[in-house]
Amino acid sequence: MSITRLNCGYVPLVDSAPLIVAQELSFAADEGLSLNLLRQPSWAALRDLLALGHLDVTHMLAPMPIAMSLGLSGPVAQIDALMVLSVNGTVIGVSNAMAASMRDKGWPGGFSSPKDTVGPLLSALDRPLRVGVPFPYSMHRLLFEYWIGHSGHALPTDIHIITTPPPLMADAVAADEIDVFCVGEPWGSVAVANNVGELILPGTAIWAHAPEKVLAARHDWVEEHTSTVGALMRAVARAAAWLDVPKNRPLAIEILARSAHLDLPHAALDHALMGRFATQLGAAPVDVPGFLRFHDRAANFPWRSQAAWIGAEIARLAGMDRDHAISVAQNTMRPDSYRQHLGPMGIDMPGASAKIEGALTNPVAVASTRGEMILGPDAFFDGATFDFTALE
């Protein structure tokens, strides 16, 4: 069997794991693929190289294919999200000074209550809040804006959203450039370990099942390389399933920590992959269920309704037409391709390709091809639901 080599871009974060594991544990080789893993210094660099054809496939922030397809980010290119690589996995934190002001305003502390946290957050400072996010079109930003926007509090006139590369986030807090940081692990825990910040919420507290990263490729390339796309998706799905077996996580940490990949100490990767966080330096760790999923709860399925939610939020932030954004967004997700390539290998498929986002406060068994699918929880912090089908 001849080997097809794919240029595969990723940003060194914990949730690039499915691609790295697919290559390192030979799930890719089993499908006749070799992933040439190319670490990228920024999302913008990765985006440009994908759009211009230097990369074939990439790990990508879930809102990016939608922003690119809408012409909002970089070279205009129609980008497909073939599958979701990971769900959740982000944290929100504040500087130590900000945490002290929030306590003065009655914040009880803790790591699970968006409703009790937002009031003190918004009233802590008598100047505009400066919020660090990794990229303008990231779930980190969308979740933060959704939380503030649906909190029932009067919105401050200006919140400064400041894009900060994740590895520099803790430094930006230390240099008093930002008050709040929304970031993927391990960079939130790094701010805690450096004693510059305190974690206030996991992303799951705002949306319990938020698509975080996707497997992205140019639409034209996907159409021209159907069998390669199928092989890649099977390899990545197997890697994702492997990653969600708890006993495999220590080996996953071992592989990811290597210098060729994330190049980080093991301890930095523990928090995300074990779902245990010290929110303050020296504090007892707390467990966050479902902090980072790679496969379970149909995590890899590219729901059109997830894309629609992202499209609607981007439209609100960018002042675009909502229906147009939703229509472009839902076409970036490719549940058709997912069913075609992963159905035959026995992966359980849901009955529909869209669902009511936010409807499940608990895990629920749903109709599926094998009858084994459990979805949820996927609730929003404010109890709202997003019914995409009702929009059609």
């Binding site: 920024s42 913008a44 660099a45 303008p136 400041i162 894009t163 590369p165 450039e177």
Partner: protein
């Protein structure tokens, strides 16, 4: 036209400035330290921002607005859809450009062409330097391995190298890899 160059390496920054000066663009400012990038850019108020494609601070430029004269001018990545060749050349050379406000493509193109040429030259020099460094490091490794064989087997330098070469050829490996393996094994056993 005011051009800001974001480049932490002073030598590279000087190279880029020189090229732009020769091209007739004299209003060039270098930002070496990227902390508070948005704030610094607002103070500089440039028309064009040049940055290495591989600079980790690129994302920070993605949604910056430069406020000047009470009006906010967005910073956008320069993509001239009519000139795909130049976009590709820029990416290959490792250059990305951000335009502030509504600067005309005709005014940007010559600047970019100059910068692309300089970036190409710099990346070639960087590759050559890396290759030279690697060659030097490889030679040291091979020398150490040769010395080890000479001591262990009491043979001449020439014979020691011949042995390394023979082993490499029979295992279909490079001399440097065999030398490295020998040093690693000896470190483990010592």
């Amino acid at each position: 036209m005011k051009i800001a160059v974001i480049e932490p390496d002073p030598d590279r920054a000087r190279d880029i400035i020189d090229a732009l000066m020769e091209g007739g663009w004299t209003d060039v400012v270098v930002l070496g330290d990227v902390t508070g990038l948005a704030r610094k850019l607002a103070a500089l108020d440039p028309d064009l921002v040049l940055i290495d494609l591989a600079n980790p601070s690129r994302d920070a430029l993605e949604q910056v607005s430069v406020a000047s004269a009470a009006q906010s001018r967005p910073v956008a990545m320069f993509v001239d859809r009519s000139d795909d060749e130049m976009t590709q050349a820029a990416v290959t050379a490792g250059l990305s450009a951000y335009v502030v406000g509504e600067l005309q493509p005709e005014r940007i193109k010559p600047v970019l062409q100059t910068a692309i040429a300089r970036f190409q030259m710099m990346s070639q020099m960087r590759n050559e330097l890396e290759a030279a460094k690697q060659a030097l490091a490889d030679r040291k490794t091979v020398d150490r391995a040769k010395g080890m064989i000479m001591r262990a087997k009491g043979v001449s330098e020439e014979d020691a190298y011949a042995l390394l070469r023979k082993t490499a050829m029979s295992q279909n490996r490079k001399v440097i890899d065999v030398a490295q393996a020998l040093l690693t094994a000896s470190d483990l056993l010592s």
